[in-house]
Symmetry: C2
Subunit: 220 residues, 2 copies
DNA sequence: TAAATAATTTAGATTCGCCTAAATTTTATT
DNA sequence: AATAAAATTTAGGCGAATCTAAATTATTTA
């Protein structure tokens, strides 16, 4: 289909994909900020990617992925998230240690490799951060994720993502409270004074968490 | 210690290492042939690597690895062979399918990753082709390997390498006879007429193999 | 050993991916 | 709407890694 892309090209495509989640048209400066590079370098690359038909780009008009480009982006994301899953589940890395390594592994080209890895891992649907892993056809299982703060009382749910998962302070708190991706939670009471929640988890323990923490936890 | 090396630089170092197994001083043309590149490109790179002190190089005098360079080479080979082991043992690849993929994986930089992978795999000593895997300190367990054709009668041994393992004809024959790396073999008789051998394997089957096959099998 | 041949290096280009500085276009503000 | 500010692109350059063609050095052979 498409010829081999360089690592740099793949990183641009991935960035544009992620930026497009917020707004369908992405600016040169946004891409530059995300990739820690200069706007002039981005313009250069956009011209090249445009020639390869993986993006739609017009001078001064911003950029978006073509259908082809979106396929490529999803494929890279699939690889990234499968490797993250592997690193956490098989090699015992913590979920906040795997991103950098997966950034490298996601550029390994073998199609066979990723299919077999997927099989070896048991076709996981979500990565260690709770983000969905696209399947081999590029289908992404989108899911309603709501903040724990908005969860109905007595409605069981599973922690599927943590916003700001890069913060070690947050990680410390979660470790202490024994909460992670996959933890089952039921909200038992809501205290309107400070918006804190009384919750019950997996291990039958019942305790209160702050508004701040509840807002950082997403469940499905 | 040393700054980050590019993939290209690492590949040059690895090539020089392997070529040095045959002769301690390696020529520009030998490197060029091994890397499918031109002699002029090699000269360029040798100058660069020389400046980084990972090789010993003098114009027209050939090249050899410095102590530092050899460490780097062994580290890359360790990564390559561990990944090959992973691909065969965990992802069910055949041993003749993994080289290319490992060529990419060997350049992933994380030290932690490779140590954890090693642990996950159970600290294997030999890769699927029977080549030794250097340990985390760079020690390589060298082993006497002899051709099966030279093995003493009634002396049990284990298949540790196959020469010409890239040939699919050979692979076909080995699959049919159910012989692979790790197969235990005892030579029961030698027939001087055609130098064929009667052997007994793991699974208690007894059969004859040709001189050609015996010469391709190495045991320890 | 002198000439022929082979190996290696140098010179000069090219592409990729990046940079800075200057020019241009778009957007926001008065 | 005119001008100021912000965003973007162009121009020109640089280092890495490669190439071809020409020059140089080493080796082989007659």
């Amino acid at each position: 289909m498409t010829e081999q892309l360089s690592t740099a090209e793949e990183n641009y495509i991935k960035s544009i994909y992620h930026l497009q989640q917020a707004e369908s048209i992405v600016s040169t400066n946004e891409v530059a900020a995300r990739l820690n590079t200069k706007a002039a370098s981005v313009t250069d690359m956009l011209k090249r990617l445009n020639n390869k038909h993986v993006i739609n780009y017009e001078k001064y008009k911003g950029v978006s992925l073509s259908v082809e480009g979106e396929k490529i982006a999803i494929d890279i994301i699939r690889k990234h998230r499968l490797w993250e899953y592997f690193l956490v589940e098989k090699l015992q890395f913590k979920w906040d240690e795997v991103h950098e390594i997966a950034e490298e592994l996601e550029h390994i080209t073998s199609k066979q490799l990723i299919e077999r890895l997927d099989n070896f891992l048991g076709y996981p649907k979500f990565d260690p951060h709770g983000d969905p892993i696209p399947d081999s056809k590029g289908h992404i299982q989108f899911q309603e994720q709501i903040s724990l703060i908005d969860l109905t009382i007595d409605q069981p749910a599973t922690v599927s993502a943590v916003v700001g998962s890069q913060s070690s302070e947050l990680l410390e708190l979660l470790t202490h409270k024994n909460i992670g991706i996959g933890t089952r939670i039921v909200v038992k009471r809501k205290f309107s004074f400070d918006n804190s929640l009384e919750i019950e988890t997996n291990d039958n323990s019942k305790f209160t968490i702050s508004k701040e923490l509840a807002m950082a936890l997403f469940v499905k």
